[in-house]
């Protein structure tokens, strides 16, 4: 059974190589990424219970903080594959952005992971309690 799997894998890799494109799956953090957060939100952080202080004592300094300290971002970047096309190569990097949101009392309200491609993250968080709805001007104004 194993030999069949190896043959199939070999055939697939050969076909891809001959087509001029090879994707080698990997899973490691980039050189500049933090490594204490990952693809899943940490189980030790419990919405409705864990405080800002406890989050900081568990995860350390966040990569970014909203100006009213109600949202923390922890950004982990991983190389998910090597992409080889002809004589050129590149990495496929994904960012796992852990977004922890706090209520007005500084207790975790929610947490989520945003799985992002390798883009230049713009660290300009707005305070999430001060967002005001945009009102469009009436016609003729």
């Amino acid at each position: 059974m194993w030999s069949r799997a190896i043959i199939h894998t070999g055939l697939v890799l050969s076909a891809i190589s001959l087509a001029g494109c090879l994707i080698i799956p990997t899973d490691y953090y980039t050189d500049s990424s933090r490594q204490n957060t990952a693809e899943k939100p940490p189980e030790t952080i419990i919405p409705g219970k864990t405080s800002l202080e406890e989050v900081l004592l568990k995860l350390g300094e966040p990569d970014e903080t909203s100006s009213d300290e109600t949202e923390l971002w922890y950004d982990a970047a991983k190389v998910k594959a090597w992409l080889i096309v002809g004589d050129r190569g590149d990495y496929i990097i994904r960012h796992y952005l852990l977004v922890i949101r706090f209520d007005r009392n500084g207790v975790v309200e929610s947490q989520r992971i945003e799985d992002l491609p390798d883009i230049n993250l713009e660290y300009n968080l707005d305070p999430h309690f001060s967002k005001t709805p945009i009102t469009l001007p009436a016609k003729g104004e």
Binding site: Q35, E53, E61
Partner: protein
């Protein structure tokens, strides 16, 4: 037959412009190659970090924190570590290159350290 060429003043201006441009390019090129002095490491850097230490003592020892929360009640520092020479402080950067730990310090209302944790980030 009309003489082709530029007036001497114009030629001078052009050459001055060229010299300025070359100088600027050279400065930019060498500016990117400046080697920063190594950050001094200290095995006793974190020795003053103990429950009950005043905020003032911490700031005098470690300097400006990389981040602060809740009006300065919680301070964080980015720490690098060298196996032989000890810990060293790192400035806040967008990324975590060379940073090994995040030091989190929590003070009480009177400014004394109540909780602290050295969290491995890499």
């Amino acid at each position: 037959m009309e003489m082709e060429g530029r007036a001497p003043e114009e030629t001078m201006k052009t050459s001055q412009f060229k010299i300025a441009a070359y100088t600027l390019c050279t400065l930019f090129v060498f500016g990117g190659c400046v080697t920063l002095p190594p950050v001094p490491a200290d095995k006793n850097l974190l020795i003053s970090v103990a429950t009950g230490t005043s905020r003032e003592t911490i700031l005098l020892k470690l300097g400006e924190p990389s981040a602060s929360f809740e009006q300065g009640r919680i301070l964080t520092y980015r720490i690098g570590a060298d196996d032989d020479q000890g810990y060293f402080l790192l400035d806040r950067q967008v990324r975590w290159t060379n940073t090994k730990y995040s030091l989190v310090l929590v003070f009480d209302g009177k400014g004394f350290l109540t909780k602290h944790n050295l969290i491995p980030v890499r």
